[in-house]
């Protein structure tokens, strides 16, 4: 199984609040990303998508704490490493992370090339400025950014350009896994498309071996990723191929989520939007049973009392519900 780039087993992390309460924002999450594949993570605000991204890096700082589980990147176990070692030998080379407002991370008083020099200083101190410039220039051109950008200050670039520059800087060391957390949500549709095109070409050219893409925008996720994982209240509720997840969701929550998609395509004007009533549970004291039970239309008495395990069905799909596939489909057919 050498082509598994990232494997996570039962990862659990928690926030400890000011008042000493534990909030398990990522609860026993397991996932696997293979070489050349991308995994999308979908879910409402506050379901733990971004916390999962932070947790995957193995780089914990308060209030986020590690509680259990294992992270293996390209055969190397990084769990329990001390944060300094993680920063030196994992971040940048093994895992690159693009946070939500990445473009605001650029120091306005420095030219773009300086950020790249910083990256090389930390990971390859022997490289000379000339070498770094040549590598950077070559790399920027292959990803479709003009080389002049290197000599510019961040304020001279547009929002979309800045975002693409940050992505280019973060992947210049060819990381094994790229974690992109809402990389395009602050951009307009055209810049968004350019960012996506760039991410795709990075994958196709092998600069990035695998990708985790986080967004709540489902049409985008469908177009970018191979597999989609739906999270709810810190847990995985469904994992399937992008096509299955969007057109044939099994879990009642994923179904509600997919019902809220709006795209400008013929015939979709008459579709009724399905809003999921209610709000997600408070993770300070999560419900004993299924976390979605309170909002679920197909709730059974057992749901609220028994914790629900992930079920695996044919085709590698998994979902978290006490009902079997047939029972669920039957329920959906009857409305």
């Amino acid at each position: 199984m050498s082509n598994v780039m990232l494997e996570v087993k039962d990862l659990t992390t928690k926030y400890i609040t000011r008042f000493g309460e534990d909030i398990y924002a990522v609860d026993h999450v397991s996932l696997k990303v293979e070489d050349g594949k991308s995994l999308g993570i979908a879910g409402e605000s506050g379901c733990g998508k971004s916390t999962l991204a932070l947790s995957l890096m193995g780089y914990y700082f308060p209030p986020l704490h590690y509680t259990g589980g294992e992270i293996t990147i390209d055969g190397r176990n990084i769990t329990g490493m001390n944060p300094d070692d993680v920063r030196k030998s994992v971040l940048g080379t093994e895992i690159a992370y693009i946070p939500q407002s990445a473009m605001n991370a650029l120091n306005p008083t420095r030219k773009i090339i300086h950020f790249i020099e910083d990256v090389f200083e930390a990971h390859n101190p022997l490289a000379t400025k000339k070498e770094i410039y040549d590598i950077a220039k070559g790399f920027f051109e292959t990803v479709g950014l003009p080389a002049e950008v290197l000599q510019k200050y961040p304020v001279e670039l547009s929002g979309g350009m800045k975002q693409r520059t940050v992505i280019a800087i973060s992947v210049i060391l060819s990381p094994t896994v790229l974690i992109a957390d809402e990389p395009s949500s602050a951009l307009d549709v055209t810049s968004q498309k350019m960012v996506i095109k760039m991410l795709r070409s990075l994958m196709n050219n092998g600069y990035v071996k695998s990708m985790i893409f986080i967004t709540h925008e489902l049409p985008l996720l469908y177009n970018v990723t191979d597999d989609i994982m739906v999270m709810y209240a810190g847990q995985i509720v469904e994992k399937a191929s992008a096509k299955e997840a969007v057109f044939d969701p099994l879990h009642p929550y994923s179904r509600g989520l997919m019902g809220s998609i709006i795209v400008p395509e013929e015939g979709l004007r008459d579709v009724r939007l399905t809003a999921i009533p209610g709000v997600p549970p408070n993770l300070k004291n999560p419900p004993a049973g299924c976390r979605f039970a309170e909002r679920c239309l197909y709730v059974r008495p057992l749901c609220t009392t028994h914790p629900v395990r992930l079920r695996e069905i044919a085709g590698g799909r998994t979902y978290r519900c006490i009902l079997s596939e047939e029972e669920l489909r039957e329920a959906y057919k009857n409305g």
């Binding site: 409402e44 605000s45 929002g159 307009d188 549709v189 055209t190 968004q192 498309k193 350019m194 996506i196 095109k197 795709r200 709540h216 925008e217 489902l218 049409p219 985008l220 469908y222 177009n223 969007v246 509600g256 989520l257 019902g259 809220s260 998609i261 709006i262 795209v263 400008p264 395509e265 013929e266 979709l268 004007r269 939007l273 399905t274 809003a275 999921i276 009533p277 709000v279």
Partner: protein, 271 residues
């Protein structure tokens, strides 16, 4: 909706806004004309910097116009004094993009809602009646007034704040509601809830709804007519089906092409 289009509700002729002077001049809105009908749902779509929000602010009377006139219900709008402005705002209300900055942080939720009741001339009502009105309004947006009373706006989540904003509109019952990117800060799932509520509200009090958005999917889904805005002018206008499914202008075509779709192939080669 043909029967509902009784008469023109809001009309603009040659509306222009210029910022700055001399060489620094920027024409944000450039001689736009429009007629919005009563009970119609309108979307004004455009990219960042196309002048959508400037137009919205002019319609609301938050900034002055450089040129052109706005007519409200057939009469030229008069907001020359504060009193007349307040009178105008009884008829036109807005929901903004960022619910976090829409509230006065020092005022409790109760006073936000009470203000609306007072604005509708309910100042002299007994408190029990006001309470009933507030509870009804909160109920309409799936909030519980008992949970909100005596709280400050920052104690609510973004979605709750945005819903409370709709509860305000429910109390105010304006003729026109201008929603400036009402769903761009909240996730897709809550977006459906908010849209649902806005639609219900429209049916309830029969108002004109103007969406200002860059979300073309949303514009297509909700509106009767769509206006596409580029660099301060309307480049294309018409019914939602016409404009979104069969766009004529190159700009509109590009804009629609750039939206990720799920049934059609998303063509990445155009950028």
């Amino acid at each position: 909706m043909a029967d509902k289009r009784k008469q023109v509700c809001l009309k603009g002729t040659g509306l222009t806004k210029v910022f700055g002077i001399g060489r620094q001049q920027t024409v944000a809105v450039d001689h736009v004309d429009f007629e919005f009908y009563e009970g119609e749902i309108i979307s004004i779509v455009g990219e960042s910097g196309s002048g959508k929000t400037t137009l919205a602010k002019m319609l609301l009377g938050l900034i002055g116009t450089t040129e052109g006139d706005i007519y409200f219900q057939g009469k030229k709008r008069d907001i020359s004094s504060q009193k007349k402005k307040k009178e105008y705002w009884k008829n036109i209300q807005a929901i903004f993009q960022d619910p976090f900055s829409s509230y006065n942080i020092f005022n409790k939720i109760d006073s936000v809602l009470l203000d609306c009741i007072h604005m509708r001339g309910g100042k002299k009502l007994p408190y029990a009646k006001k309470l009933e009105l507030m509870t009804e309004a909160c109920g309409f947006v799936n909030l519980k007034f008992e949970e909100l009373t005596n709280k400050y706006p920052f104690e609510l989540s973004g979605g709750q704040m945005q819903r409370l904003m709709i509860a305000r509109i429910f109390l105010l019952k304006p003729k026109i509601l201008l929603a400036d990117e009402p769903t761009s800060m909240i996730d897709a799932c809550s977006r459906a809830t908010i849209l649902d509520m806005l639609m219900q509200l429209r049916d309830e009090i029969d108002m004109t709804l103007i969406f200002i958005t860059h979300d073309i999917g949303l514009a297509y889904f909700v509106s009767d007519s769509v206006y596409i805005m580029e660099r301060g002018i309307f480049v294309e206008r018409g019914s939602a089906d016409e404009v979104i499914l069969h766009p004529k202008e190159a700009y509109t075509q590009r804009l629609i092409n750039d939206v990720p779709k799920i049934y059609e192939e998303w063509d990445l080669s155009t950028v």
